[in-house]
């Protein structure tokens, strides 16, 4: 039951605003309470994991509500709850509050659902459902003039691959059905089946394309600048902090273990894509004039590194990937929210027009400074631990990849320091429309972020030791793939009488 609790709490939190009409304060408070409760449930879940539930849903289709809380998912669930809490605390929507807070919590609930599901179809349910709140939040609560176009772009990029994902999932189940004995979408049962390479390959491509769009990874990132740029900073924080993790998580949980041979086959190509992502993101982040875009493209680069760690296909890389996903979630959410406050206070997000925030609001600048340091990978803070582990894993697979990736890490120090300098320091004294004051709630919410940055920085083993068993079992699957004989030959041309 503990597994379901964050999911249930967030769903209830999403439904509650519909009954509260236009009372903005009450709605915000209710959302805060529900996301805080979900966070508590998720933290208790980390202590109690691993746990799982299996509720029958549609037995005729091998469909059961299988949710699992293990080393891979528990930190991401907690991250989602924490991010939601922060996003709600940093929002003050008064015009149309019911829709806004409801959609934010719905997005969180569906993301938690994708992290927990171990049934492919249940996963798909949450995966598809997750698109809708994103679409509506970008489209109807957007900031920029082009928010509708940005929403449409987000929709197209998310939906088209995920429609084909359904074909891939069903084909996988149908192909595995003879070996299992009945149609099943359960991960445990599907993992035991070894499909022939020809079937694996195209299923893997459909899986990978769909998951990589969500991260996003170059060249499937075209929706990202519009969606992150046209939406509110709080929504961008949600997209970057939580939604991007679902894509990486799905790759680790489903695509690579289920289709190990295809994964090995495509790994080099994916690594090249990851490297391009890392360098391209870093380059744009270094040169962009728009502060929020710097954060957005830094995400492209950092998550590209995580992707590279996954593609390295060893336990160390996977371990580092999960750790770094958690880390990125923590500092990306904080960065988007803090910079969002600067944007709102200054009325602009062009770096050239910002500056001197540190002199006006020292406490605020202090939070921003720690976050930036964590993001650029200062030893002792969480970003460093994750990157270090990732690079170790990548080294084991290929030294060339690792050296290129290290270059990107150096870049990241450069663009984050530039972001901080142009915002907080510098000669230009920005004229503030609104004071940059952290309310008690916002302050209270930021504290755990800073604590986590420091704590994970000093004791990353608290996370990695729990991820390790899962990472090792996935890595073993990849290694075993080459040894066993495939069964369940499935091709389109066959057996058409």
């Amino acid at each position: 039951m503990l597994v379901l609790l964050p999911l249930i709490l967030l769903t209830l939190g999403a439904l509650a605003p519909l009954f509260l009409g236009r009372q903005a304060r009450a709605i915000r408070l209710v959302s805060l309470v529900f996301s805080a409760l979900a966070l508590v449930a998720a933290v208790v879940g980390i202590a109690q994991a691993p746990q799982q539930v299996n509720l029958p849903w549609l037995p005729a289709l091998g469909l059961s509500l299988s949710l699992q809380l293990d080393g891979l998912s528990m930190f991401l669930v907690a991250l989602t709850a924490l991010a939601t809490l922060a996003v709600v605390a940093f929002s003050d929507e008064t015009e149309r509050p019911a829709g806004y807070y409801s959609l934010i919590l719905l997005m969180a609930a569906t993301a938690v659902g994708t992290f927990l599901s171990t049934n492919l179809l249940v996963f798909y349910v949450f995966w598809e459902l997750m698109i809708i709140p994103g679409y509506l939040l970008i489209g109807t609560y957007g900031q920029g003039p082009d928010s509708r176009r940005a929403a449409l772009k987000f929709l197209v990029y998310s939906l088209v691959p995920s429609a084909f994902l359904l074909v891939a999932i069903v084909t996988l189940a149908v192909a595995a059905a003879p070996a299992i004995g009945h149609l099943s979408f359960n991960l445990d049962q599907l993992l035991a089946v070894h499909l022939p390479a020809a079937t694996q390959n195209w299923i893997f491509l459909l899986f990978a394309a769909s998951f990589m769009v969500k991260v996003p990874i170059w060249p499937l990132h075209a929706w990202m600048p519009d969606a992150y740029g046209e939406s509110r900073p709080q929504v961008a924080a949600m997209l970057s902090g939580v939604l991007s993790k679902t894509g990486l998580y799905a790759l680790i949980r489903f695509a690579f273990p289920l289709l190990p041979e295809a994964a090995r086959l495509f790994a080099p190509a994916l690594a090249v894509i990851a490297l391009i992502s890392i360098l391209y993101g870093a380059w744009i982040a270094l040169t962009h004039r728009d502060g929020r875009m710097v954060i957005a493209y830094s995400s492209l680069s950092h998550l590209g590194l995580v992707f590279l760690g996954v593609v390295a296909l060893n336990a160390l890389g996977l371990d580092g990937a999960v750790l770094q996903m958690l880390n990125h979630g923590i500092y990306a959410v904080a960065l988007f929210l803090l910079f969002g406050m600067v944007e709102e206070a200054a009325g602009t997000r062009l770096l050239a027009k910002l500056g001197g925030v540190a002199g006006r609001a020292a406490l605020f600048a202090g939070f921003l400074w720690i976050t930036v340091l964590a993001a650029l990978g200062l030893p002792g803070l969480n970003g460093f631990a994750g990157e270090f582990l990732l690079l170790l894993g990548i080294f084991r697979t290929s030294q060339v990849w690792a050296w290129i990736a290290i270059a990107a890490v150096i870049f990241s120090a450069a663009y984050f320091i530039r972001l901080f300098q142009l915002t907080a320091q510098g000669a230009t004294e920005v004229e503030l429309i609104r004071p940059l004051r952290l309310s008690p709630i916002r302050f209270a919410v930021l504290v755990p972020f800073v604590v986590l940055m420091v704590y994970i920085g000093f004791a990353p083993a608290q996370v990695t030791s729990r991820v390790q068993p899962v990472a090792q079992s996935i890595a073993r699957l990849e290694a075993r793939a080459a040894l066993t004989q495939p069964v369940g030959n499935y091709s389109w041309e066959a057996s058409r009488q």
């Binding site: 598809e128 679409y135 084909f164 074909v167 149908v174 389109w492 066959a494 058409r496």
Partner: protein, 503 residues
């Protein structure tokens, strides 16, 4: 001179009790209307029609739960099996909603109610038809009232335009259907589907009536092709799809509500029966034809829907698209595939009826009310109407876990199990495009409201109840798909749904 003995056909009236209930109701309505002043008492007549439909549905359920099925009657020209009864229920649901929607509208009149019931009878007979003549007759009984119903708002030029277009294309396509039926008769020498199936199973290179140039196989193939194309008109499939958007836009919303579901159900039912009893065993390549039709229909419906600004037109193209899915699933030709199609139809009926009910309620009979821009800010004016509409649209776009998703899932599974890659990919491509199509009204509903737009009309209680029930049903069927699988499981006569589970 010896007169041949006339043997009266064996008729089991209990088997056609739903049809009889509608017939009696319609006659009673017309008779009572003679004694009522016009404009007066129409609501009572509408309730009477609704009661008659409920009685028909009740006797349908009794048949479904009883042990009489499957059975044939009228000398084997009508088949009453679970497939027919389940589809009958869907048709009756559509008729019920049409009557409820029309009750407060200018188009409401005794003739309107009677025509709707007659058309429903035609649809119900069509899904039971097991004879070429009955099949043709049922198509006509179904269509003729609809031609009139389309023209039921003669004050609006669009209504007449819709009627003319529907009538001309309908009669045109009936010609094709009729020619196809005649050719099937010519190959087999009998009109019962059993005879036709037996003849088609043996067609080969043998020439027709000793004439060298024309082979029976060719005649059979042309016949099947013409029948499929002719029925495709009712299903709203390419190439006879052009009427759909115009009729959906021009005809009264209550009529469109009824025909969008009813004709689709009826045409799918008869096509499924033909596939199951005649095509599958025949020596004719029917799969290629259906595949081509399905691909063309799906792509046309999806792509043409993108630029639509009128909600009814948009749903018209969506109807074409969904017709494509139904044709696609028939290609597989297995009983599991038919069951998947039935499941899809049931879910489609729920969400499509719901969407039309909302359109009818929001427009209040005005032409401007059916434009998508009218839906801006609906969530902030009538939040629950907007939530219900969002449920219907998301379900139509097959977003899980709503009813439409499982309908699509079963279709995909049937196609993939039947090794139909191209069709499976076309189906998901269509799905991907539709969400983009439905995304626009969805966004509009949750956008800030337009300050200039007039206030929304008040919603009649019956319509609000219907919308609420349909929305709950769409969600419930999605969350507990097992419940309706159990209902459709009764379709085991033509396709056991257990077959859906992969083997």
């Amino acid at each position: 001179m010896n007169l041949p003995l006339i043997v009266p056909p064996q008729v089991a009236f209990s088997l056609i009790s739903p049809d009889l209930a509608l017939l009696v109701t319609s006659v009673v309505i017309l008779a009572v209307a003679l004694f009522l002043a016009p404009e007066q008492g129409i609501r009572w007549l509408a309730w009477l029609a609704a009661a008659g439909i409920l009685v028909a549905a009740g006797s349908d359920v009794i048949l479904l739960l009883g042990s009489q099925l499957p059975a044939t009657t009228f000398s084997g020209s009508l088949v009453m099996d679970p497939l027919a009864e389940v589809l009958d229920l869907v048709i009756l649901a559509a008729a019920l909603l049409a009557v409820l929607l029309a009750a407060n509208r200018p188009e409401a009149s005794p003739d309107y109610l009677a025509l709707t019931l007659w058309s429903a009878i035609g649809m119900m007979v069509l899904v039971s038809a097991h004879d070429l003549i009955v099949l043709f007759l049922a198509v006509e009984v179904l269509s003729l009232p609809l031609y009139i119903l389309c023209a039921f708002r003669p004050d609006r030029p669009t209504s007449l335009e819709a009627a003319v277009k529907y009538f001309l294309l309908g009669a045109f396509s009936s010609g094709f259907l009729l020619y196809g039926l005649a050719l099937l008769f010519g190959v087999s020498g009998g009109t019962n589907l059993t005879q036709v199936a037996a003849a088609l199973a043996t067609v080969g290179s043998a020439s027709l009536f000793g004439h060298g140039a024309i082979g029976t196989a060719l005649i059979a193939e042309v016949g099947i092709g013409l029948v499929v194309v002719g029925l495709g008109f009712k299903l709203a499939a390419v190439p006879f799809h052009q009427w759909v958007p115009d009729v959906y836009e021009g005809a009264p919303t209550s009529v469109v509500t009824f025909m969008s579901v009813g004709t689709k159900v009826a045409a799918f039912g008869v096509l499924a029966r033909l596939v199951d009893t005649v095509f599958v065993g025949s020596a004719v390549d029917w799969q290629g034809l259906l595949s081509a039709l399905a691909v063309a229909t799906i792509l046309a419906g999806a792509v043409l829907a993108i630029p639509q600004q009128n909600f009814k037109r948009l749903l018209g193209y969506s109807g074409i698209l969904n017709a494509g899915y139904l044709v696609a699933v028939l290609v597989v030709g297995s009983q599991a595939a038919t069951a998947a199609g039935v499941y899809f139809l049931v879910t489609y009926a729920l969400m499509n009826l719901g969407a039309f009910a909302v359109i009818s309620a929001v427009s209040g009979g005005e032409m401007e009310g059916v434009m998508i821009r009218r839906y801006r800010g609906l969530f902030y004016q009538q939040p629950w109407t907007a939530v219900a509409m969002a449920v219907f649209l998301l379900s139509l776009a097959s977003i899980p876990p709503l009813a439409g998703f499982f309908g699509k899932l079963f279709i995909l599974q049937a196609l993939i199990s039947g090794h139909q890659l191209v069709l499976a990919l076309t189906v998901v491509a269509g799905t991907a495009i539709t969400l983009i199509v439905y995304g626009r009204p969805l966004l509009a509903m949750f956008s800030p409201p337009d300050p200039d737009s007039p206030p929304l009309p008040k919603m009649p209680m019956a319509v609000a109840t219907a919308i609420g029930c349909l929305a709950v049903a769409v969600v419930a069927v999605g969350l507990v798909p097992g419940a309706i699988v159990g209902l459709v499981h009764g379709v085991s006569q033509i396709g056991p749904l257990s077959g859906i589970s992969g083997r």
